[in-house]
Amino acid sequence: MNAQAPVPAKSSGAQRAMRFVLPVIVFAAGLFAWELVVRIREIPPYVLPAPSVIVLTLIKDRAVLSQSLATTLVTTLEGFVAASIGGIALALLFNQSKWVEYSLFPYAIVLQVTPVIAIAPLLLIYLEQQTAVVVCAFIVAFFPVLSNTTLGLNSVDRNLAGLFQLYGASKPQTLRFLKLPAALPYILGGLRIAGGLSLIGAVVAEIAAGTAGAGSGLAYRIAESGYRLNIPRMFAALLLLSLAGIVIYGVLALVSHLVLRRWHESALGKEN
């Protein structure tokens, strides 16, 4: 027997480095040009703050901003967890019973296609503000989890399903040992989308909530700073939001990679 383990293709180190270095260069050049334009033309900070001013604001207002960041992240996390559990649970329910799927799936779609910014004010009337914000994050994020998990549960290899049937696998066994592992790459893909979307949902709801109360998330800070013409702080809050989104995506992509790296093509493609 010959072991024909695939040899990972040698990716040239230079190319890999360039993929990292080039965007950084572009970013630095953009910042430099921005700084230059603001200084030469002496644009006042309330029109367009220079990057240096934004960084200084970030440091100066760190107490307020970090507290807002924490609030937004907690909201996002709550929405994400609710969406993940809800989406996966509903998909499993759909998979067990066609009747439930036929009865409920249209409403899942309605929930998805209705713009959340239009639902948020209504939610704010009926729910406590913090709950409403989390519900918004949930509504936006849960559909990709639901539809991806459904897709995954339905893409089980037909022969493998036959094999499980042949060996008299019970329904829970088939679910645990066949359907869930087969659906795992799809579920993780859904979660990756849901992570970013729950941040968007949280932001949208915070903006809709506006000055209505104790809300102090980053989006609320942006709106508030806008009213006060504190443009540098708007940019600083936006920067934090953007970073939060990148970190959320990165963490979920990493989790997905770690879980799948031993067997799934998507993870193998990255390594080779």
């Binding site: 027997m1 010959n2 072991a3 024909q4 383990a5 695939p6 290899d157 022969n159 493998l160 036959g162 094999l163 499980f164 049937q165 042949l166 060996y167 008299g168 696998a169 066994q173 040992f177 066949l178 592992p181 087969a182 795992l184 031993r262 067997w263 799934h264 193998l268």
Partner: protein, 271 residues
């Protein structure tokens, strides 16, 4: 007295059979008649091949025997091991593709039938390792399917079919996707396994040469709906080896089987 004797001989005849299909037909939901009426009797320990053109219902026969689908009419009887409650344990199935779970390593793939049957983990692992050793893959228990070649994956699939120690092995064109050298080697290994274990093997193929080389009986099927065109017994000195593959007796059998198969292809001018 005479009646009693007659019925007991019928029973004796039935117990010697591993599989019997009587007047079996299969009509798919879309109205296509895939099979039949089809009659087949396979004795215990026999190695038979089902040979026929694509879409003639060969795989359907296996699926019916394995109870993966139900016949539209007729009866399918499979002799069961005594004291085996779980369905399927008397039958091992090797699919056209290796059909391995990509997320589990080789040992776990082979252990699957035992795990589903509630065999304790330690015992299951030991039996899986033994089955892997019997197909020459003892060193690959911890590998993942993607790390194996096509022939090795097929061996894993075979080990999984053997791990429950079934009486009957159903094989659905298992080597069709492999290169010829690998295929010959697996043919020889399969024959060696069969000689050692004396399982009943029903082997589906569309290769005349493979069917004659492997089996004691070649059952040639017609194009859809599949019926039996010819039932040819292959008699030669056992154990078979490479000298049989190159003998004139072998080529004579191949010619006979090909001749029996020819009418099934006559209507298919595009092939």
């Amino acid at each position: 007295m005479i009646e009693h004797k007659a019925s007991s001989t019928v029973e004796a005849g039935l117990t010697a059979l591993a599989v019997s299909l009587r007047g079996v037909t299969k009509v798919y939901d879309n109205g296509v008649m895939a099979l039949g009426p089809f009659d087949l009797a396979v004795r215990k320990g026999e190695f038979i091949s089902l040979l026929g053109p694509s879409g003639c219902g060969k795989s359907t026969v296996l699926r019916l025997i394995a109870e993966l689908s139900a016949p539209s009419s007729g009866t399918v009887r499979v002799a069961r091991q005594e004291g085996v409650p779980q369905p399927g344990h008397g039958i091992g199935f090797v699919f056209q593709e290796p059909t391995l779970m990509p997320w589990a390593n080789v040992r776990e793939n082979v252990r699957l039938p035992l795990k589903l049957g509630g065999v304790p983990k330690a015992e299951g692992r030991a039996r899986a390792d033994a089955a892997l050793a019997s197909v020459g893959l003892a060193d690959f228990a911890d590998s993942f399917p993607r790390e194996l070649s096509g022939g090795m994956k097929m061996r894993v699939s075979l080990a999984r079919a053997l791990v429950t120690d079934p009486d009957i092995l159903l094989m659905d064109e298992p080597f069709a996707a492999l290169d010829e050298i690998t295929r010959f080697r697996l043919n020889n290994d399969l024959l060696a396994l069969w000689r050692g274990l004396r399982k009943t093997v029903i082997f589906v193929t569309h290769s005349v040469f493979e069917s004659v080389y492997l089996s004691q009986r070649v059952v040639v099927m017609t194009a859809r709906p599949g019926r039996i065109q010819a039932d040819i017994r292959i008699e030669t000195v056992e154990p078979r080896g490479e000298e049989f593959r190159t003998s004139t007796a072998y080529s004579d059998y191949c010619r006979r089987v090909s001749a029996a198969l020819a009418p099934s292809y006559s209507g298919q001018s595009t092939l």
